[in-house]
Structures are given as structure tokens and as C-alpha cells.
């Protein structure tokens, strides 16, 4: 027994690095391809961030990343002085902020409602229906949005016309971009995001329900005094975790939905980086803008994690 214990809890008491490497050699063999992957596709690109401080010339290849002329903070100064900065930060933040305000409560409400269904089979069927949009590709979702909202033959405008309202060209009006983005995003994710809340509610001990029922509590009281308090830790944890994504908008959906007419409300940091870097070949400048975004994201996640640790004793790391 004593021997066993030593084996499990010891990181490697008294053993040299080489002995440990030999002992765990099979684990290390397994990790070789994994480590290569992470070095090449994650950590090597991180060293490439040096580009944000030099003048990378298109065509100077991989080594050009490290050997180009050093220009210091030139690209950051250019970005901070540009008219794009406030617009990009505002759009990025507001898309995420509205998504959170609008999208966060819906999975909770849905989870509470769906667990009120008496039959477990019916509950599962309802849930499956709501998962479906989550697994549909961004391209198809954007294609559906675009065609449903189209002023020529889109169903939404057909319905508006039947109600006597003129067609609205949703996709070309800046004031419509955020509602369309937020509502469609919520449509796509609410069912899937409710899974965790449903599981939390299903995890409440049946004895507690029984006790409340014996006490004469009705459904409303059970939800208010038993269900909500039980899922509060889950709510707080997920809320804090989603705060961490405040400045990272998914690139694909904005890219597929926006056009020059709605840049004013739709252009976000990620799409700007793509246009500047891949489309206009301003590699160094785009890297600097991307780095700016990464640093902000990292700071936000870090802060959210600190708050989480303090409030709920649950931290991401």
C-alpha cells in the first residue's frame, strides 16, 4: 500500500530529471506530436508578434518576420491616431455587450421552463429542437439571415408588406446590423447554452422538491425559492466567464454579414485586421492592431478570473 501511494502522489521525489524522463517516457512519446503541433501553430506565431514592431515587407518570407527593420511603436502610434480606433473598439464592445445583455438570460429562462415539463421524453425532444441551430455553420446561418431579410423575396419583408409596411433593406442599414447580429446569435446559441442550466436544475435533489410541495408551495414558489438559488452559482460562473469575451467578437459572422454600407456599426477589430493584413498587405500594421486586441482580451479574461475567484471560489486557472 505504501509503495502504491508513493507512486501516485510523487511528482518525482528525489529522482533526477533523467530518471523521471525515463520513467514517464511513454507519456513523453505521446506528447511529441502534440508538442510539435503547439510549437509550430501556437508558440511560433507568438514569436511572430515581433512583426508589430518592425517593417515587414511582403515577400520577405518567414525569416523576414525576425529580420525586418525595427520601427518601434510606429504602427501602434498610427493606429492610436487613426479614426478607426474608437469606431472599432466601440463596435467590438457593443456587439459583445448587447449579445450578453440580450443573450444571457434567455438560456436560463428556457432551462427553467423546459424542466417544468412533466414528461422527460417531451423535455428531451423540445431540447433537441433548440440545439439544432447551434450546429449549423456560420455560412448557412448568415445565408439564411441574408435571404430572409432580403428586400426582394425575403420572408420577413413579405410579411411586412402584407402588414402594409414598406420593405426594409436590413442588411444595408447601419442601425439594423447590431439587432440582426445579436438576435440571430441568441437564436443560434440559447438552446445549447441552456444545457448546463438544465443539468444544474435536474441535479436538484427530488427530496427538496417534495419537501416544498408538502409545505404547500406552488410552482412559482418552488422556482423562486428552490430552483433559482440552486443554479445561482452556475449563473455567476458563466456570467463572469462571458465577461472575459467582452472584446473578442467572432470574426466569421461579422465578415459574412457586413458590407461597406454598414462598416460604421459593423466593422470590428478582427475584420479590420483581416482587411489591413490579408487584403491590403499591411502585415506589420495588422499584426500591431491584432496584438492590441489580444492584450486587451487577455487583460479582461485575467480580471474576470480574479473576480470569479473572489466571488465564487471557481476560477478558470
Amino acid at each position: 500500500m505504501g509503495k502504491k501511494k508513493k507512486k501516485t502522489d510523487a511528482g518525482g521525489n528525489g529522482k533526477s530529471f533523467r530518471q523521471l524522463m525515463f520513467r514517464d517516457r511513454y507519456l513523453l512519446y505521446m506528447l511529441i506530436p502534440v508538442v510539435i503541433y503547439y510549437l509550430v501553430f501556437c508558440y511560433l506565431p507568438m514569436t511572430g508578434l515581433i512583426m508589430a514592431f518592425n517593417q515587414y515587407q511582403v515577400g520577405s518570407g518567414f525569416l523576414g518576420i525576425y529580420t525586418s527593420r525595427f520601427v518601434g511603436l510606429k504602427w501602434f502610434r498610427q493606429f492610436f491616431g487613426s479614426i478607426y480606433l474608437p469606431r472599432l473598439v466601440r463596435n467590438t464592445f457593443l456587439l459583445q455587450f448587447y449579445s450578453l445583455i440580450f443573450g444571457f438570460p434567455i438560456p436560463i429562462l428556457f432551462a427553467i421552463a423546459v424542466t417544468q415539463i412533466g414528461s422527460l421524453r417531451l423535455q428531451k425532444s423540445v431540447q433537441v429542437c433548440t440545439y439544432l441551430p447551434y450546429f449549423i455553420s456560420t455560412v448557412v446561418v448568415c445565408g439564411m439571415i441574408n435571404n430572409f431579410l432580403s428586400p426582394t423575396g425575403g420572408i420577413i419583408n413579405q410579411l411586412l408588406n402584407k402588414a402594409g409596411i414598406d420593405s426594409i433593406n436590413f442588411m444595408n442599414l447601419p442601425q439594423w446590423f447590431r439587432p440582426v447580429y445579436v438576435i440571430s446569435g441568441s437564436w443560434q446559441t440559447f438552446g445549447f447554452n441552456s444545457i448546463i442550466f438544465v443539468a444544474a436544475i435536474m441535479g436538484i435533489s427530488p427530496d427538496l422538491y417534495e419537501a416544498m410541495r408538502v409545505d404547500g408551495a406552488n410552482r412559482r414558489q418552488i422556482i423562486w425559492h428552490l430552483v433559482l438559488p440552486s443554479i445561482r452559482p452556475t449563473i455567476i460562473l458563466l456570467l463572469i466567464m462571458s465577461l472575459g469575451t467582452m472584446m473578442s467578437v467572432g470574426f466569421e459572422k461579422v465578415y459574412l454579414l457586413y458590407n461597406t454600407a454598414v462598416y460604421e456599426t459593423a466593422d470590428v477589430i478582427q475584420t479590420y485586421v483581416y482587411r489591413q493584413g490579408i487584403q491590403s498587405n499591411n502585415y506589420s500594421y495588422a499584426t500591431a492592431v491584432g496584438l492590441f486586441n489580444s492584450v486587451i482580451n487577455f487583460a479582461i479574461v485575467f480580471t474576470a478570473n480574479r473576480i470569479s475567484r473572489r466571488v465564487s471560489d471557481t476560477a478558470i486557472w
Binding site: V34, F41, M46, L132, W187
Partner: protein, 301 residues
């Protein structure tokens, strides 16, 4: 609020309770309808007659059942080329994803592994910080991946988030099982493939679903690195048809221009149907494992 000693008050139905129940039912009905209706509508439009679609008659069910648009799309060669490519990327990609995720997750889950903490940190770090688009783009293209089929598989080989889900599943296995196997002289490759993997099948089912769906839906990688039509995946093709109003399908067939404008929206909806069918078939199959996979991710993730 009332608290009686006996269970009697349950039978007393108050008007507020009725309104409350009705609200819940209404809410659920709306939730199901908004999730399912768009797909039914798209399907109905794609199998209705062009004239009925143009008049705006199709709202829920097909009007004048007609498979012309369906035929037009299914006869278009590029659809099948891109479909075939996506099939390849999804199949090979998912298999590689799952294998490499297990290879990453297993050592990170072993409590005795001497680099466990360090490796876990390096993994988690990649979730919160990355080199960003441009350095990755330069490295991937410089490695010769541009317009290579492997670009859809290799740069997206491992998702750190999924590794964490997998790691939690391995960690949940009783430690004694590993110890006994080790005493019997089994090495870690044997333990992983013969003992650990069979024990986490439900989690692997969820991971397979997640990976398969991301490979099937991957537009971003293809947009960046694939420009040859012969290698493009379905999502790139769909983007041209659905979002860039490409007329390539209707142009290839010998329909006159009036019919073209009639059927262009139908053609798009048929493409949506064709693209969504595999997802609709797979998700319900794996749904019973979904809860487990999501919960494991939330605990650690």
C-alpha cells in the same frame, strides 16, 4: 406565501398559477417554433413551384410541389466537388482530431506525470493568447500549406478546449485501474488504447461530434488558404451562392432569364437544405451524450 402542515393546498388552483403555467407553455412553444420553423420554411420553398414562391404564397408548407430547383442544384457539378472535399476534410480531420486530442489529454491527466503542471499551463495559455491572424498566416503559407488539402486538417489538429474535456474524462477514471495495469507491466500506450479510451466512450462521442461539426462547418481556414475551386469545401461554395449572389448554378442550365430570377432564391434554399441535412441527422444521434460533454467542459474549462 402560505405554509400548511398538510399537503392539501396543492389542489387549490389559483388564477396566478394558471397564468404562470400558460406563460411557460407559450414560451416553450415559441422557442421550439423559432428554432424549427426557419428550416421547415427553407425546405418548403425549395420544393415548391417557382411561381408560388414568387407570389409569396409559401409560408409553412410547400405549394404546388415541384422539384425543378432541387434538380437544377443536384445536377450542378461544383456542388458535388465541394461536397466531396468536405467529406474528405471532415472524415480525415475528425479522426486525426480525436486521436491527437487523446494523445494530448492522456499524459496531462496522469497525476504522476512529472511535467503535468507545466504542460497544462502551456496548453491553457494558448486558449487565452495567440499570435494572431498575420503571423499564423505567414507561417502556414510558408510551410507550403497554401492550396494544400492538408491545410484543412493540420493547422486545426487540436482544440485546447476539447483536450480539457477529454482530460477531465480521463481524470474521472479510478486511479487504481491504472496502478493495477502498471503493475501488470502494461505501458502507457497499452493503458491508453485498451483501458482508458474504452472507458470514456461517451465523452469521445461528444468530442467526435464537436470536431466533426467544426470540420464540416470550417469556412475560416478555407477562406484564408484555399483558392482552387477543385479543393474548396462546401462552406466556401455555399458562401458564393448564399451571400455573394453567385448565379453560377442557374447559368449552367438552359433556363430563360425570367425563370432564372424566379428560381434564384429557390436555388439558394435548396443549397441550404443540402448543406444542413447531415447535421440534422447526426445531432439527434449524439444528443444523449451532449449533457455529459458540456458539463465536463464547464467544470474545468
Amino acid at each position: 406565501m402560505y405554509r400548511n402542515e398538510s399537503g392539501v393546498p396543492e389542489k387549490k388552483i389559483q388564477p396566478w398559477d394558471f397564468i404562470f403555467d400558460a406563460t411557460i407553455i407559450l414560451f416553450l412553444v415559441i422557442a421550439v417554433v423559432i428554432c424549427v420553423y426557419p428550416f421547415i420554411y427553407v425546405l418548403s420553398v425549395s420544393v415548391s413551384s417557382g411561381a408560388a414562391v414568387n407570389r409569396g404564397d409559401v409560408m409553412l408548407l410547400p405549394v404546388d410541389l415541384n422539384f425543378e430547383a432541387m434538380k437544377t442544384v443536384l445536377h450542378y457539378k461544383q456542388l458535388w466537388i465541394s461536397y466531396g472535399n468536405t467529406f474528405f476534410y471532415t472524415l480525415v480531420g475528425t479522426v486525426c482530431n480525436v486521436i491527437f486530442t487523446c494523445l494530448a489529454a492522456y499524459p496531462l491527466s496522469r497525476k504522476k506525470f512529472f511535467l503535468r503542471r507545466q504542460m497544462n499551463f502551456l496548453l491553457a495559455f494558448t486558449m487565452y493568447f495567440s499570435g494572431g491572424l498575420i503571423p499564423i498566416y505567414i507561417i502556414v503559407t510558408r510551410l507550403g500549406f497554401y492550396n494544400s488539402r492538408w491545410v484543412m486538417i493540420v493547422p486545426v489538429l487540436i482544440s485546447a478546449y476539447n483536450v480539457m474535456i477529454c482530460r477531465s474524462a480521463f481524470e474521472a477514471i479510478s486511479e487504481e485501474l491504472f496502478e493495477e495495469a502498471a503493475i501488470e507491466g502494461a505501458n502507457d500506450f497499452y493503458i491508453l488504447t485498451k483501458i482508458a479510451v474504452p472507458l470514456i466512450k461517451p465523452t469521445l462521442a461528444v468530442l467526435t461530434l464537436y470536431y466533426a461539426v467544426s470540420r464540416y462547418n470550417d469556412f475560416y481556414t478555407a477562406m484564408l488558404y484555399i483558392s482552387e475551386p477543385g479543393k474548396e469545401p462546401l462552406q466556401v461554395f455555399l458562401r458564393r451562392i448564399l451571400l455573394q449572389a453567385s448565379m453560377e448554378i442557374t447559368q449552367t442550365t438552359n433556363i430563360n432569364m425570367g425563370a432564372v430570377s424566379q428560381s434564384s432564391i429557390q436555388v439558394r434554399y435548396v443549397c441550404i437544405v443540402v448543406a444542413v441535412i447531415p447535421i440534422m441527422l447526426i445531432v439527434p444521434l449524439v444528443q444523449k451524450y451532449l449533457v455529459q460533454g458540456t458539463m465536463l467542459g464547464a467544470v474545468k474549462g
